[in-house]
Symmetry: C3
Amino acid sequence: MRIDSLLSVLDRNQIDYQFSGDKSVEINRVAGLDNASQDSLSFLNSNKFIDSLNQTLAGVVVLRSEFQAQCPTNSISVHDPYFVYSLLAQVVYPDAAPFSGVAESASVALTADLEEQVCIEDQVVVKENVSIGCQTWVQSGAVIHRNVKIGAHCKIGSNVVIHENCIIGDHTRIESGAIIGGDGFGWAPNRGQWSKIPQVGRVVIGNHVSIGNNSCVDRGAIEDTVIEDHCIIDNLVHIAHNVVIGEGSAIAGQAGFAGTTKIGKHNIVAGQAGFAGHLSTADNCHFAAKSGVTQTVKNSGAYSGFPVQETAKWQKQIVRQRNLDKMAMQIKELQKQLKELQNNN
Amino acid sequence: MRIDSLLSVLDRNQIDYQFSGDKSVEINRVAGLDNASQDSLSFLNSNKFIDSLNQTLAGVVVLRSEFQAQCPTNSISVHDPYFVYSLLAQVVYPDAAPFSGVAESASVALTADLEEQVCIEDQVVVKENVSIGCQTWVQSGAVIHRNVKIGAHCKIGSNVVIHENCIIGDHTRIESGAIIGGDGFGWAPNRGQWSKIPQVGRVVIGNHVSIGNNSCVDRGAIEDTVIEDHCIIDNLVHIAHNVVIGEGSAIAGQAGFAGTTKIGKHNIVAGQAGFAGHLSTADNCHFAAKSGVTQTVKNSGAYSGFPVQETAKWQKQIVRQRNLDKMAMQIKELQKQLKELQNNN
Amino acid sequence: MRIDSLLSVLDRNQIDYQFSGDKSVEINRVAGLDNASQDSLSFLNSNKFIDSLNQTLAGVVVLRSEFQAQCPTNSISVHDPYFVYSLLAQVVYPDAAPFSGVAESASVALTADLEEQVCIEDQVVVKENVSIGCQTWVQSGAVIHRNVKIGAHCKIGSNVVIHENCIIGDHTRIESGAIIGGDGFGWAPNRGQWSKIPQVGRVVIGNHVSIGNNSCVDRGAIEDTVIEDHCIIDNLVHIAHNVVIGEGSAIAGQAGFAGTTKIGKHNIVAGQAGFAGHLSTADNCHFAAKSGVTQTVKNSGAYSGFPVQETAKWQKQIVRQRNLDKMAMQIKELQKQLKELQNNN
């Protein structure tokens, strides 16, 4: 596609830009500045890579206006190059299904309701009363249980499982191997044995959500587990029953959330962080990698450690802990000098 | 179903109860006290929710006798409302397969032995010499490798894999995406390379066990990996080769167990806890979230931290660590005052 | 097979050994010294098990020469019994596919290129332009997306997913449920929402690699994610986009690597360890269980804790932390005695 087609995407999205160069150049791929060729879209997001910019062979570079003078090729100057790059790369690599219709080896119930241009790949199972919105793409091996509703323009990865009654909005991606609506960990103890609490709530996932590969979002025990709009969730994340993840939150790999915990809007949770059950967090919290949240967090801010504290305090504590040897020796020295003083008196 | 049918379940299970109200009311679902309607079973497990009890519209509430007077509707008074709720909810939501027989798209070896009322859903693979007990339900996409034995009344979730020779008892659930009997991590180092140790043991899982979504239980290297009766295991748990999990233990999400470790009976392991290999734990241990067990634990009790210590000690240490700044200043002040004293002498 | 066939394997691998006993004995299985019978291969790797050696009924034992005199049965004396055992056990349990060809229920694209003796089991999906090398075994339920290249002598486990364009070398194993080439976690923030960065790099996996059950290796954002030759990776490991794992490294269960991190050659990473993004480690590093690496590690060595420090320092710090109570009391005592001195002066 020609650069002018890319620019028309920016026009449609009402994004301010300045173009410099030849709009007729053909762009077919994306590449880093160093590996780009004449047909590549590239971007500069940090002045660390100015040398790469000077030598790039890219067809067009998205950058901030202050770097335009140093760009040896066509450039698109914008306020936020990384965001604009994402929009343009989505056009260069449209996430479109390979065909419309149902592969012969798929098993689709007669009562399933597939809208226009749905793609059901090989060996997929779609059970009774499932509805799937237009242009949604279900990859090979996925299993969609009865009464599930999936919106339009979704991508359901290979070997994903979505259990009965769950609801998924529009423009949402469930990456391969993820399990949505599996049974939560609800058991009543009874004299050394465990009696199962039937898990009859649903998982309700909003629009523009992404759930990572092999992640698990358990169905609610009675009420629903909820992932609000615009949440992004990485791989191997565990979300227990009745958790609510607030709008726009981002959850990194291997984080885990115990039951009935409610994460505020626009939280950022780094890798391997863990949340105990039955607590809540304020909006706009940031939890560091490996942090452990054991109580409700009432105020926005950055938190670290286990149990979490404010990140600034935690960093200070880490330094103190590393100086414990020195502190122990200072105490010993004080004891010695005090003894001397006592003896002299 | 009418309330008197529910009460007959309690009779059959020899559970003491007192009923108050109208046994002819029809119950079709479960609900929390706040969202219940005339056809709902609900329960009260904590006096925190007394206000909800007062206003509930539920058809019947399971509660302790001291709260019966405050219940505006039919009630079942019992010693342990949560356990009794679990039994009754299992009746309202029977976990029954949708049909008996083998779906047309499933691939079942001629030598497989399926007992009565087995349900094999779409796209399932059942290989040579597998045996599956009566009323066991194998959901779409599961793969059962050769010589596996699965007991009666089990539920094998979608896209589960059970590798060759493994044994699964009765009334056991393997949730979706779990891998049972995958190869363990056994390698002999040889000049910077790794030579594979064939993993020829089995996984042997008892009765009334539950393994969570996308969890992995590796087969033994030579002897077996064993999950004893009545264990419940949550999502994304890693159980390495030759581990033994003692009867009645409960393991929460994302916990991990390295090879040949032996967990005692009735252990409770919280989320993201980790166990080094070749150690054992006593019966009735409780390990807190994110704890790390690096040595054998000989005594029952509660343990926390990494490496674990008794929870009471760990809690004290956490407080001390947060006061390190204060301790450092106390030392500084001591040094100053001592210096003054020394100068005065 | 007779012991002399096993010995010829050692000859072919140019391994020095001394045999003592009767080479005509038939070996059909492996067993621990305690459970071995006349047809078992066993090994002794530690003098802890000398008593078991004395009483073993094994057909042949691999051991170091100093223990040969105490072995009551046939023995093979070698320098490294565990490595030699691995080689011989591989012969006793050849990892061979059950058949050559394509199962009837598999869905294989016409443009897929399968070399000789490839085994494609039931319900497998192989898409357009995939190539699979000779004697590679693809187990039931695996999904191989378009343009993937898999080498010879590989084993692709059940319900594995390999996404488009990824490359896998020879003699490599992808264990069941692993997701190779899923989309990485690349998003550009935009006013409280997230705009997807198309993930268009590949995963490139070398020869003699093993990826564990339900692990995830994300495709690169633009360039590739790379797992070099002879790496072994355990279950439920998360490897984000553009990570490089250096040759010969071993990664234990539930470890996680954030994006663009580069692990050196021959690193050993223990369970539940975590690595932040955009850092690198030296060759021959060892990271302890639950350690957290937040910065580049320039020197080989053993590291522990979060954030990591040299293991020896970390161990000392742990002891100090446990003595904080004592230190606090020492400070209190110093304050008291100092006060007394001050009052006396």
